[in-house]
Every structure is written in structure tokens, then in C-alpha cells.
């Protein structure tokens, strides 16, 4: 490799320097990570009068209401998904040391799976009950799926570009991939990337419930999300946001920033199989993982940890396990697999973002978070799962993957390297 080439590669390395979240486990990254390592569930029972006919009466709501973290007037102009995104972005930006960056070199990529669905539905109720005149003029900026990205862009004055990839439950991971591309292609020096979702409402829940996608373990909320367990019966809908600040290693070093991990590569593929069901062969998911490794220049034997998509649906967990096996074959045993949705529930468009935060922290602290609620491991799952208690990761140079898949057949894998 020529010196120029080495120099080029050095400049192209992209690292994570700031993290922020509002999640079912906590009001910030520290409390969320603490809950995750303690094996705490964020799932609770919904109020009895919430939607009595709904087969699913449980969800993973954010641990702290935005009203405790945000000004009242600001809140009323923001959809709940936008509130989550702004709260998480503010934490991430402060955590990154509020970097000084030319606004035309600062980008934002914040995804959402569904967008401002609460605003859409609540505004329709107002329209029906009180008429056209009473619909808030803030309705459209609140319901548009790019609203969270736009508000974060406004907050920090980002002018390199503000983007919102939408790929259902893969959206948050796709956002991080898009952000990586923004830096690699020279469009930005720093990007605020993540995902957000606020869809705990009877309408989306009825839709998911009628797909038989949701757990109905209503009497045992904290044990309802149980990826890889024989008796798993669907995912638990969660809400919240995760945001990461990423920048070139050179930029981070120049300003003396602390670094959590490197975002080393991405793999994006599609199944071309079914609008909602995972391809049972998992070839698209396998290709996403292998593509991420190639893109990151990481070999399969360097991967020591994987945060699985593992939503706790009967079909999805099996398909992904097969895809992971297909990607790693003989190296499978050395990969500590964590299914953190067992604790957070499924944040849809926020999932890939908070799980990328978890992978960054796992590499930074050298510890893989646990998977809770596996009472009887499904016989068809042959993975090295981190069960019940966190597990130490090796010292030295290590790497990890985060998987996120979405309705529509979207497969996203992001590769991370320790720093």
C-alpha cells in the first residue's frame, strides 16, 4: 500500500464521539446502559382504558416523559417523535463536546419508521370533532417523517444536508450508514445521525396486532419480549430515540475528542421476497453482514460481538439466526450475541440507532449486554447468546456488528471497530 493510500484510509476513518438517547430504560445514555447491563425490562402494561379491545396491552414507553426534559411551548410544536429526537440529539451533541464545525460541513441524518403518526391521528380527531379551523398550523411539520431530522438540523444549524432514510425497522441503522457515506464522500466533517419513533397508539398497534406480530403476554409484561425463547409470541412495541455524533478520526483527534468506537462499514441489501415476512433462507441478511465486513475491511474472525435484530417474533428470530450462521459459519462460537430488544422492546425506526449506541458502548467498555427472558432456548437456535448477565469482551483490537431489518425486506448491517 502506498503512503498516499494509507493516508487516504486514515483520513477516511469515521468515529463516534457523542451518544444520546431517551429510551424505555432511561432518560439518557448512562441510565439506559446501566439498565441494559442490569437486565432490566422497559416493558409495562398500558392503562386499562387505553384500548380495551386491543389484544396487546403492553408496550415499552420512554422511561421519562419529554415534559420533564423540554420546555412546554417548544413541546407543543413538536410531534412526540421529534421531541425524542431533539432530546437525544442535545445529549449526543453535549457528549461530543459541542464541536465547533463549519455549518456547511455539518450534516444530520435522523430516521423514523413511521413519522409523526400520533400527530396525524390526533389532528384527524380534532378535524372531525372541531372542524377545519381548529387543526393546528403546525400539523404538517409535525407529521412529516423528515420532521425530526429537520428540527435537529435547525437546532444545530446544519447546512451540509439534512436527510431521513425510511426503511421501517431498519431506518435507524440506515441513517447511520447514510451518515457514514456523507463523511466518506466528503460532504461533511461531522454528522448527527440516529433514529426516532413514537407510535404507541391504538391504530398502528391494531395493525401490528392483526399481522400477529405483537406479543400478547399481557399478564407478564417484563417477560413478554423474549427473543430466541421457545415460547416467544411476537415483539413488544417500544418508543424513543437514539442519536450518535460521528466525524472523521482526524477531525476528532484535532479537537481532542473522546472516541467510543469506529463506524467501520455498512452493508445494505433487500430480500425481494415479501412485504412483511422475512426470507426464511436469510440470504439477503447474510449478504448485508458480509458486505458490511468487506466495506469495513474486517474479517469474520475479528467479530466478537453482534447486536441482533431479534425482535422476538417466531419467524424473524429463526431467519436471522440462520443468516448469522450463514455469514460466520465456523467463527460463530466466538461471537457474543445480544438481543437487547428483550429489554427495550422494539423501537422500530429508533431500534437501529439505539442498538448502534449499545454496540459502541460494548466495544468501548468491553462488555456485551445480556439477553433476558430466555427460559427455554429454541432448539433451532445455535448461537452463542449472552444470556441473563453481561459478558466481558476480549482486549485488543475487536470488532462488532449491528443488524437491523425492516418490513419491505430491508437488511442493514453496520460494522464497528474498537478504538
Amino acid at each position: 500500500m502506498s503512503l498516499n493510500n494509507q493516508q487516504h484510509q486514515q483520513n477516511d476513518r469515521v468515529v463516534i464521539t457523542g451518544l444520546g438517547t431517551l429510551s424505555p430504560l432511561g432518560r439518557d445514555v448512562a441510565s439506559t446502559w446501566e439498565g441494559l447491563l442490569a437486565g432490566k425490562s422497559g416493558v409495562t402494561r398500558l392503562p386499562e382504558d387505553w384500548s380495551p379491545d386491543m389484544p396487546t396491552q403492553i408496550a415499552a414507553k420512554v422511561a421519562v416523559e419529554p415534559a420533564e426534559l423540554m420546555d412546554r411551548v417548544e413541546m407543543r410544536r413538536l410531534d412526540r417523535s421529534e421531541q425524542f429526537a431533539l432530546i437525544a440529539a442535545r445529549e449526543a451533541w453535549a457528549d461530543a463536546g459541542s464541536p465547533e464545525v463549519d455549518p456547511t460541513r455539518l450534516g444530520v441524518v435522523i430516521a423514523s419508521g413511521i413519522g409523526g403518526v400520533l400527530t396525524l391521528l390526533n389532528s384527524y380527531d380534532v378535524l372531525k370533532e372541531k372542524g377545519v379551523r381548529s387543526v393546528s398550523p403546525h400539523t404538517v411539520p409535525m407529521l412529516m417523517p423528515n420532521g425530526p431530522a429537520a428540527h435537529v438540523g435547525l437546532e444545530f444549524g446544519a447546512k451540509a444536508g439534512v436527510h431521513t432514510p425510511v426503511s421501517a425497522c431498519a431506518s435507524g441503522a440506515e441513517a447511520l450508514g447514510y451518515a457514514l457515506n456523507m463523511i466518506r464522500s466528503g460532504r461533511a466533517d461531522v454528522v448527527i445521525a440516529g433514529g426516532t419513533e413514537a407510535a404507541i397508539h391504538p391504530l398502528p398497534m391494531a395493525g401490528f396486532a392483526n399481522m400477529k406480530a405483537l406479543s400478547t403476554r399481557n399478564d407478564d409484561p417484563t417477560r413478554a419480549s423474549r427473543p430466541y425463547d421457545k415460547d416467544r409470541d411476537g415483539f413488544v412495541l417500544g418508543e424513543g430515540a437514539g442519536v450518535l455524533v460521528i466525524e472523521t478520526l482526524e477531525h476528532a483527534k484535532a479537537r481532542g475528542a473522546k472516541v467510543y468506537a469506529e463506524v467501520a462499514g455498512q452493508g445494505l441489501t433487500s430480500d425481494g421476497f415479501h412485504i412483511a415476512a422475512p426470507d426464511p433462507e436469510g440470504t439477503g441478511a447474510t449478504r448485508a453482514m458480509l458486505t458490511a465486513l468487506t466495506d469495513a475491511n474486517i474479517s469474520a474472525d475479528e467479530i466478537v460481538h453482534l447486536n441482533a435484530h431479534a425482535t422476538s417474533t417466531p419467524a424473524g428470530d429463526i431467519a436471522e439466526a440462520g443468516a448469522i450462521t450463514g455469514a460466520f459459519k465456523s467463527h460463530l462460537d466466538q461471537i457474543a450475541i445480544s438481543a437487547t430488544k428483550s429489554m427495550t422492546g422494539h423501537l422500530l425506526g429508533g431500534a437501529g440507532a439505539i442498538e448502534s449506541i449499545f454496540v459502541a458502548l460494548a466495544l468501548h467498555h468491553r462488555i456485551a449486554p445480556p439477553t433476558i427472558n430466555i427460559e427455554n432456548l429454541d432448539d433451532a437456535i445455535h448461537l452463542n447468546i449472552v444470556r441473563d448477565k453481561p459478558r466481558a469482551l476480549p482486549s485488543g483490537d475487536i470488532a462488532a456488528l449491528n443488524n437491523s431489518f425492516g418490513f419491505g425486506g430491508h437488511n442493514v448491517a453496520i460494522a464497528f471497530r474498537s478504538i
Binding site: R72, V73, E74, R76, R133, S134, P137, H138
Partner: protein, 82 residues
Amino acid sequence: MAITEQEVLAGIKEIVEEVAGVPGSDIEMSKNFTDDLDVDSLSMVEVVVAAEERFGIKIPDDQVSGMLTVGDAVNFIVKAAN
């Protein structure tokens, strides 16, 4: 019973405080909604709709554009309500 200018001003203060977060004590008849109180065009629509509900009047759109100050709004509402 006729509504007074003071009553309308008090109502407008409450509405602007609720919609735009401006403290009631900052809201005076001479204040310009946009320049002094930072009430943008979207929030102005909210103020107008809330005022219509509160005072039981209609404020036509062509009148809203002429309501530059708090006083403009109060005077219109007093006239319309009485």
C-alpha cells in the same frame, strides 16, 4: 354586557403565553407580534383561532394580516365582540 379592552388584553396575554411562551408581563398594546414577541406566522394562526374561540367572534383572514400589534388585535376583538 360589553367586554372591555382590559378584559380582551388579559385574554390575549393568556393566549400568547400559552401558544408562544411569552410572559404575560411582556405583552402590551404597543408590542408588535412578530418583531417584539417573536410570534411567527404559524403561531399567529394559533393565536387567532384561540381568540375566536375565547371571545366567540370570527376574525377573517384579511383582517389578520393587518393585526401587527397587540393593540390592533385587541381593538378588532373589542369591536367585533360588542
